[in-house]
Structures are given as structure tokens and as C-alpha cells.
Symmetry: C3
């Protein structure tokens, strides 16, 4: 399958959302304890089935029966590190897609080093922010992002006031969402989990990653319209994601 | 004390709720990190005092000063496993009631094996869903549930679109709640914690378990009436549980 | 700098809030997994940047690039204990302020002992409730609190229906907030994190600690006015904190 063109993305995102609701993919998330609850609730609101164990004794079994894997490096500890390596071995062996979220690697060289070793294992996509991209050696400027994606052999999905997604051949940008998204913990982590979910659709990784960020961005835009602050925003975005339909996606999406 | 008959359950549930608010029992929860926050908030909304440490160095002291114990196997790891064994030793020695929640044992044979070893230690109740019941060797069909409860020497409290509670002598069913309950993480885990809380009332384990599921189901039914999606549903159910009174329980409950 | 007098506190609290929003201080929180999400969201709503790793391999780097540190003892385990000692070494070496939150030390003598050893390391402030203060050897009565603060060489910030803050020279009290604050998990933990944030302002530790409790208390008072229960209260307090301004603080504050 070849990636969606810019014009195709809103429709593709609608198809991704419909696929999640119909197939209820199982997404195994190795993620930090700050982000676990909100990430699970975002996946559930989108129709997916999350699981989150990090026990070495059972993570292999969970990844085997999952459809995609998220590896998020926030609140990293020894047990999570071991769990990541076991989970990736299972995912590689079974050809399951996985997403790397190198949370806050700009704050710790040890974490950044581990993230680089994971990038070399070829995730289907890396979801991150600008500071994290720079800490990996990339740059948010479109041509530089495409070059970095080509060199890394993965899709780079950058979140921010403007979301930008690149693979080696193309870049796409959009500015949905709301400033409150930066005032609710785990919003980026949840975007990474939704990216993993969209990778189970059979669409190419560029379309799945861009679609996931577009879906969450438009849910955020809707949530922001009635939010009184970041508390109600976090509630509203789950409701908006649950209620989002293809027509609303098509009507609101502005992609370039 | 003998168990409530079907007709008695709504009134018994009202008494359970009143007892929680009056006595503020301390419920120690060994539970997964995805579920901790929501579980604590459900217990607090019902009038209880939650604690959640899993440190081997202090869990004995916490269980000693608690009124009931929850053992939930989600995101299981080595430290939690050790904590469970220490906690159960204290609970057994002091005759404190405890609830087993064998989360997602249908996904991992290692976890299912551990759950079976815990079931042999005779929890007062096991709260689970249909897939988890089957993984333990049971079946959701009423007569089979009663037989499984008899054989296990415990109360089996099954959540789902229809909740069903059995001990060796009787089965009771009701269908309150709302589909959003399956779209909010930790809803089942919270039901298990509330079951542990109701076991502190002095009522028999069948009545306490059925009453806990009835209370949460009716709170969910009320929450669903004004929810705009699973985000606002999770907020509403805490409000509904906090505000639930015996008259509302009696008016809404449909038990068979 | 000398501490705010009673009359000065509302204005000082307004300045603290403005400073958080302008400078976006980085607050590293070693806190229990029950409290992490809500604590992060309170810090974000106030304009701060939270981080929460407890991995020994990276906590040094995180504390080095943070502006203040919170040490919360809830759900304590071996890894967190090690992380605390590493983090405090870095904080001490760099002169960074830190807050101790001795959660539930009245329930475990092992935890109480560890809390006393940390108190000897001179946190800038200790945020706790009455039972925890007594377990440390203090007392909530004003003169006794001042004496305990003098003897411990720190600020004691007590939360409850009445908040009270003491250093060796002065005591201040106020009764904002709402009863729902005791029905939402992690409210005290979040107050401790906000105290750590306010310590980055350059104001003395007494003013920063009292200001933090006043800010959260008034946000709670506002949140309670439209809450339908503890679920909506937890949402509302984040919105209220985000929207709180100096004029509202000045108008509502009743300090003695």
C-alpha cells in the first residue's frame, strides 16, 4: 500500500477510526505510570483494548496476543527496560508493529542512549515532540524531518502546536488541537498509543501515524470549544474521541 | 447471617452504603498502577479510606490496620507478587476478608496459574468477567456458576452487561450499569475494591458482593443518563456513587 | 527575604501564581503511583513542568535539570527509596529546594522511621495532615506547631479543614477548600507538589508554603461551588487553578 496523499488523509483517518471500532485491536502499552490511566482511557474511547503489564514473566504472552505494541520511556526503571527487550523480541518474531515514544530524552542522556538503541530496532513509527526529536539527532524542519525519517527507516510523527509527520518520501502538517493539550499530562503518550492502534489497520505506517495525530488533534479542537480549563478539557477529549465520526473529520481537517 | 433473598437485596445494598459512610472502613488495595487512581476515587466517593502500598517492608503494617484487602493481578510484577503473599498471611492470621480480582488471566497462563493458587487460599469473593471466569475453569451460566462457587468455597461475582453473583447455594442477576462502563479503564477493578469494602459490613459475603455490584451498577445507570461519552461518564459515576441513597437504590433496582 | 505577614499573604500568593505561569519551573516529583497523574495535572494547570521518573539510572539527571524536588512517601518501595537518596544528594549539592510529604506514616512504623531520617536532611517544607504530624512527633496546635517547626528547622504546612503553616517564628491559618478535597485521592500530594513549585519563586519558604496552600484552597472553594460530587470536583479544581487570578485570590482570601 502506498501512503495517502494530503487530500486523502481526512478520509483515511475516518477509515482508521471505523476500523478501530469494528476490530477492537489489542494494544499492549509499556508506558510510564503517570500516563497509564489516561492512555488506557484514550484507547478505550477509540474502541481499542489496552493492556499494560510490564512483568517479565508475562509480557511475552501479552504481546503475543496483542495486535500492536507501544514502547514509552517515561518513568523508566529496570523492570520496564527488561520488559521492553522481551516485548520487542516477540514483536519482531511475529512481525507486529510497534511505536517508540522517547519521552523526555532531552532530560537524561542515559534515557536518550536507550532510545537510540531502540530506534535502531526499527519501530514502525516514532511519536515525539520537538525537544525529543532534537535529542535523537533530528530536526522539526520539514526537509530535515524527511531526511531523518529516511536515515532512521521509520515514520517520524511530531506533535506540537503544528503536528508534522514524515517518512523518507513525504511530509504532511496540520495545526488542529488546542493549547490545553500541553496542560494535561500524558496527552503525547496517548497520541503514541493511538498511533500504535492505527498501525493495526493494514494502512501504511505514514498514513496510520498521520491519521492518529489528525484524529486526536480534531478531538482536541472539539474538546477545547467547551472546556473551561485543562480539567474539563481532559474529560471532553475522551468524549469527543468517542463521538468523532468520519463526516466531522472530513469537515474540520485542514492538512497541508 | 444468611444471605439476602432476591427481594431483600436493594434494601441490603442501601444498608451497605450507609455502613460505608458511617464507618469509613480502611481498604488496602494491591492493585495495578493503571487502576490505582480510579479505584481510590471510587472508594473515597463511597466513604472508604483506601491505601495502596505494595512495599514488602510495610504492607504487613498496612493490612494489619485495614478492614479488608483487595488482591488485583493487573500489571503484575515481582514486588506485587511478594506483597500479595505477605498481605494474605496477615489477613488470614487476623481473619480479615479479602477479594481476588484475576484481571486478564485469559491473556497469560503464568498469571492464570498464580490466580488459581490464590483461589485455593479462599478469598471471601472473586470479582471477574466472563473470560476470566472461564480461564479459572468456571462458566457464566447460572447453575454452572453456583457449582463453581461451591467447589471453590467462595462467592463468584461476575460483571458484565448482566451482573451475576453466586455462592454454592444461590445465584442472583441484574442488568444495571451502562455500556460506557466497558469504555473506562479500571471499572471492574473498582467494583472489586467496592466488594472488599462491603465485606467489612458484617453481612454475609454473598449479600456484600451482590450489594457492591448493585450499588456500582445503579451509579453507572445514573451516570450514563447525562454522560456525553466515556470521559464524562467516569466523572459522573463518582458523583452518582457519592450521592446515591437508599431510596434511589430501592426505586431503581431490578433483581432476579 | 522575610516572611509575609498575614495581611501580605493573598498578594504574595498572587505573585507566586504569576511567577509559576511566567517561569514554568520544572518540578521533579518522587511520588506514589496513585498520585502521579493528578499531581502532574495540578502542576500543569498551575503552569509548571512536572517530571516523575524514579529510575536510579536517570533520576540524578532529572533533578539536576529541575528547579525543585518533591519527596512523597506513598506506595513506597525499594526502588523509590534508592531514588530518594540519590535525588536528595543532587538537590543538596546544588542547593535546590525540596518538600517532604510523609504520606500515611501513621500507618507504618517503617515508613515513619524513614520519614524521620529524611526530616533530618532539612527539607525546605513538610506538607502533611494532622495524623502524619503527630506520627512525626508534632502537634497541630499553633504554638506546638511553631515549636516543632523551630526544632526541625523547616516549615510545617498542615492541610485539613483548616490549613496551618508554621516556621519557628510565626503561624498562619485559613479555612478555604471544600469537604470534597478529602474525597479525591492525591489532593494532599498535589498540595505538596504545588508547595515545591512555589519554593522556586525566590520568596521565603514560609510564604511559598502558605501561598501554595492558599492557592489550592481557594481553587477548591471555587471548584466546590459548582461540583455535583467528588468526580466533578476533581475536574473543577484543575479548571479553577488554571483560571485563578490575583484579584480573585485577594477578594476571597481570609487569613489569620
Amino acid at each position: 500500500m502506498r501512503a495517502a496523499t494530503t487530500a486523502d488523509l481526512p478520509r483515511a483517518a475516518g477509515e482508521l477510526l471505523a476500523a478501530l471500532r469494528e476490530r477492537a485491536p489489542r494494544i499492549h502499552c509499556i508506558t510510564n505510570s503517570v500516563a497509564q490511566t489516561f492512555t488506557a482511557n484514550v484507547l478505550l474511547a477509540a474502541g481499542c483494548v489496552p493492556s499494560m503489564t510490564i512483568s517479565a514473566a508475562e509480557i511475552g504472552a501479552f504481546v503475543e496476543s496483542a495486535d500492536a505494541l507501544l514502547v514509552n520511556l517515561g518513568t523508566f526503571d529496570g523492570e520496564r527496560r527488561e520488559a521492553v527487550l522481551i516485548a520487542l523480541e516477540v514483536a519482531r518474531h511475529q512481525g507486529k508493529p510497534w511505536v517508540l515514544d522517547p519521552v523526555l530524552i532531552d532530560r537524561s542522556s542515559a534515557r536518550a542512549g536507550f532510545a537510540r538503541s531502540l530506534l535502531a530496532k526499527k519501530p514502525a513509527a516514532v511519536r515525539l515532540n520537538a525537544a525529543e526529536l532534537k535529542a535523537l539527532g533530528g530536526d522539526p524542519e520539514p526537509a530535515a524531518m524527511r531526511a531523518f525519517a529516511a536515515q532512521s527507516g521509520t515514520v517520524i510523527a511530531l506533535s506540537g502546536a503544528t503536528d508534522r509527520v514524515a517518512d523518507g518520501a513525504q511530509v504532511i502538517s496540520f495545526s488542529h488541537g488546542h493549547p490545553h493539550m500541553a496542560r494535561v499530562t500524558a496527552m503525547g503518550c496517548a497520541a503514541s498509543a493511538l498511533t500504535a492502534a492505527c498501525l493495526t489497520s493494514g494502512k501504511d505506517a505514514f498514513t496510520a501515524s498521520a491519521g492518529a495525530l489528525l484524529i486526536l488533534g480534531i478531538a482536541g479542537e472539539i474538546a477545547g470549544e467547551s472546556a473551561r480549563g485543562p480539567g474539563s478539557f481532559a474529560v471532553n477529549i475522551l468524549d469527543a474521541l468517542f463521538n468523532l465520526d468520519e463526516a466531522t473529520l472530513a469537515k474540520r481537517a485542514k492538512v497541508s
